[in-house]
Point group: C2
Chain length 412, copies 2
Amino acid sequence: MRPRVVIIGGGFGGVETFHRLHRLMHKRRGIDVTLIDQKNYFLFTPMLHELATGSIGRNHVTQPLREMIDCCHERFVRATAERIDLKRRVVVTDAGNYPYDYCVIAVGSRASDFGVPGVMEHALPLKTVNDCAAVRNHLVACFEAAARARSKTEREQRVHFVIVGGGATGVELAGQMGDLFRKEMRALYTAIPSDEVRITIVESGERVLQRHSEFVGTSAMRKLKELGVSIIVNTRVVKVEKNRVHLKNGDHIDACTIIWTSGVQSNADALLPHEDLDERGRVRVNEYLRMVDDEHVFALGDCAVIADTGMGVVPQTAQAAVAEAKGVAKNVRRLVRKKELVPYRHRVRGELVPIGNWFGIAELGPIRFTGRVAWLMRRGVFLLTMYSWPDRFRIALDWFLNTFSFRDTSEL
Amino acid sequence: MRPRVVIIGGGFGGVETFHRLHRLMHKRRGIDVTLIDQKNYFLFTPMLHELATGSIGRNHVTQPLREMIDCCHERFVRATAERIDLKRRVVVTDAGNYPYDYCVIAVGSRASDFGVPGVMEHALPLKTVNDCAAVRNHLVACFEAAARARSKTEREQRVHFVIVGGGATGVELAGQMGDLFRKEMRALYTAIPSDEVRITIVESGERVLQRHSEFVGTSAMRKLKELGVSIIVNTRVVKVEKNRVHLKNGDHIDACTIIWTSGVQSNADALLPHEDLDERGRVRVNEYLRMVDDEHVFALGDCAVIADTGMGVVPQTAQAAVAEAKGVAKNVRRLVRKKELVPYRHRVRGELVPIGNWFGIAELGPIRFTGRVAWLMRRGVFLLTMYSWPDRFRIALDWFLNTFSFRDTSEL
């Protein structure tokens, strides 16, 4: 019988693994691959902040998985994985059981409050399409309320936007919001003086974008200040209430909008027993990206952590997930052919951080620059993840045309 | 003091009324106009079936009202009208009271079950953007379930789609679904034999599109049959259960999807006391489109009914709402200038019915034809309702590019 590979999760890691194993499906001594996801589309998560702020449409960040997975449309199953039975080697889902010889866990992560009280009730995360809709609708509601407000104090509170977390998501969202407020909102809400609209980032470290180099961090800080974004560093949020954020240094900030981009929890915690996971629910894998205690299970991306290799921390990014997927696919192929496994080595291929429209920061090895070219490169990288060339062309032209009109400020 | 006009509802009628009164706002002896809507966008309702079936994107059918209402962005208020106080002449909303000298009710309609049991629980309406999302997600879920089904019987039930109501919405939706199933779904779900996928329209009258001429009706029937749509006429639905529709003639149809497009209820029923409304909640207006019992209130579109003029029934269409809006705006202008009112005369300017992609039926006075040109004309009419020329150009090009790729089958 052909070895069966079951991939759980149709994000960057899962889809890349599928693509890399696809050719082997059509070989005579090949394998059978199944891709399971609870939604029927792939989501380009690094662009969610642009959907929330209306500079791209929903159909630009989602793509049907059945279309994406090459010719083998029927290898996709829309189902929610409930747990993995390691002994019987079966993935249990709400649409039946899927036995495997090799299982690849690529289920990604969700927003986590790290135990800070009030986050789930009063702050908005930004991890799914529905989160984007909630953020967009909230922005609109705040501006509408501010336009009706009777006092300056009330108005200022309505249009004060706090972003907790100065990582890539927080910084990129702040940049887009800055752009949106200075152009569209200023034009459409003339009753609100634009100096009353404020964005504040709260970051626990010494600067934003701690995972990135000094150059990227300071360039981002400079650009954000230009856009009127305040940055509070070296303090953590200890409590969130309705319209108020409490900081560790004793201060508090009054704002109607609190967006939480600070940290994530792995989705693997629902699938496996706790002893196989770390404290954030990530699967412990060895240097071959294989589970420490089970030879038939691989894990990658946001839901995996490489234990004890002294390689340093692999960042939880789409780029890393894709690189790990290549490693996993290679090792699955080698297992099928009974060859020795090769260890995964993480290599940063470069960083591209967009801030607002038409400004980006690029760091590609020794080459560093900021400006329009870096921003365009980021968009170009996005297009390359598209399924087909007609799609790439269509979306590129769409973006080009969008630059001639206002962002979409409709509620979602 | 300048007369205050409050328009409730930012649909076809409300927006057209605003545009027609806009110039008068900038005159010295002019008026103040306020537009109130509970959502911040205009919705192109006649295209909802295309959003549900993925041939256009969400950003094509919604436009922010603040952008649309010309230069006077601040005249828009996002609020839910709760009632109209006819004595004090105040529109009461959840965001404060808006006093008026003239009030225009243009709140449209919602789906109505006409007292048929089970409709609200087991059938899907198609009146809002969220309805479209529900229909799209349901279609995807049905095909996914059918692809996993173990028996032919189970599979056939999963992919049987019943549309109740053979009016424009039902017929146009059936056409789009026929197209979607024959192209995208056939390619993506190869495990489902395409002859098992069925669409059935249930219509109580003798033929579909009863409001339209014989020519339009028979052309539509012919095209629908070509697309494999079954049409059951001369019988009504008397009960809807989960996965089953009961007909008046004693038959029943088993289908996982039941879409309800049969009839609407006016949204004015929440705003005014029952004695001013007819049995479907529509405001009774005279030939000047003014409320029979109140000289300061006008009503138009789906939420109005012209009483006792012997003019015959004005259809509940976007076209009629726009025509009535012109009449209302003219009469408001005449009232302000203390001139005599002019009665509204309904004139059908032509009918364009699209069925699937690239096929339409046109009846423009004596000129009748079917085919691609009619379909393109319908799209052209849509574009003319857009706010600005750059938008029109952008969306037209978008549609052109869409024709080269699959419809969007992502869940919404």
